[in-house]
Symmetry: C2
Subunit: 209 residues, 2 copies
Amino acid sequence: MLKFKIPEVAIERFPIYLRSIDNLPDNFILSSNKIAKLAGTTANQLRKDLSYLGWLGIRGKGYKIGKLKKEIARILNIDKKWKVAIVGVGKLGSALLAYPGLKKGKFQVELAFDNDPLKIGKTIEKVTIQNVEKIPELLPLHRVKIGIITTPSEVAQDVADKLIKGKVRGILNFAPVQLAAPKRIKIRNVDISILLETVSFFITQKSLF
Amino acid sequence: MLKFKIPEVAIERFPIYLRSIDNLPDNFILSSNKIAKLAGTTANQLRKDLSYLGWLGIRGKGYKIGKLKKEIARILNIDKKWKVAIVGVGKLGSALLAYPGLKKGKFQVELAFDNDPLKIGKTIEKVTIQNVEKIPELLPLHRVKIGIITTPSEVAQDVADKLIKGKVRGILNFAPVQLAAPKRIKIRNVDISILLETVSFFITQKSLF
DNA sequence: TAGATTGTTAATCGATTAACAATC
DNA sequence: TAGATTGTTAATCGATTAACAATC
């Protein structure tokens, strides 16, 4: 457990660092400058961020890739596997079920839910679709701590409530609504329209940004 | 055109404000406090953000919903429609093609591309899939200024280069790679693994965050 | 007018950048 | 040792929060 608070923004950069060095050999030693280039940031920021994890580098040389991978994975708690549940097996939900980053990564889709009787019972990507009503019951049984919501907006809050009853600790929400939930639940929203809207702003304010 | 710089973080909140009031009647007048609650922020922050857009409220009363919608839409440049191109019509790409937020919203999928001969020529959601090689040629012809990348990582950079040749101004990238591009191109990354990794961190550091 | 709420200023907080002593 | 690069401190920058005069 950490004794001090790592800035949220730094936490969000760690996965990018990890991804940037992921296919480099463990015995490579790279300077902060080189790694920063790969990750699309600056050497100063990289060193600052890494300093939150302790002494990772070798003065005069750089950072050993193997050690870096291990330490970042450790702080992100992805040295072990996480089981996740997907709720809403429409087009987006099915796409996520088959998504390589989820399929073979540190996050494994253990359960899938839908409210459509035609879908319940079917098996996609080795996961059998269950009735949404079973969420509160099945999640603790399978030790699932993260839920992914890919339902229409109208039912997203109801699904979130069920997930919370099922004792999830985090939710990745693709429905374009603001979910209400206790503070202890970590919610990440992915709203494609919102992303496009900010793009829209920036590409027309050319002279100022 | 703006005379001063609106903070990036504020820009990213405007779409959320818009979404929060979207289904309220135009003639309603709500206080910053009420709107902030809907959007999941504070009255202070909302007023500060809105102040960048000018005098929008009525002292002693609140903000007229209709005016707010119009002004936020104007600043985000979504009072007009944007045409977008999707590259990579796999599971995720197809899901986005059918995504309601894109289908009937301010962003219309005008073009779709793939490199798979079996897919080229087929029509999904009224959009005919074209050969990726045609990106630089077709984009300017259709006045498409935003590209969405839903290809495997290996070809994402190549696709980005083609989009840039086709004169896009912004890219929404779902491939888990850091894209290289000139500064004038606005890139937004959506990496599902990265999002889950930050969730993973936060739900284990319970006592500090 | 009295009450309410805005728009804005000032104070606080936090993150980024620059710089450099420590040290491999 | 000389050169290089870390880890960290201090300076800068920017965003959030608090507070309140202006005003509907």
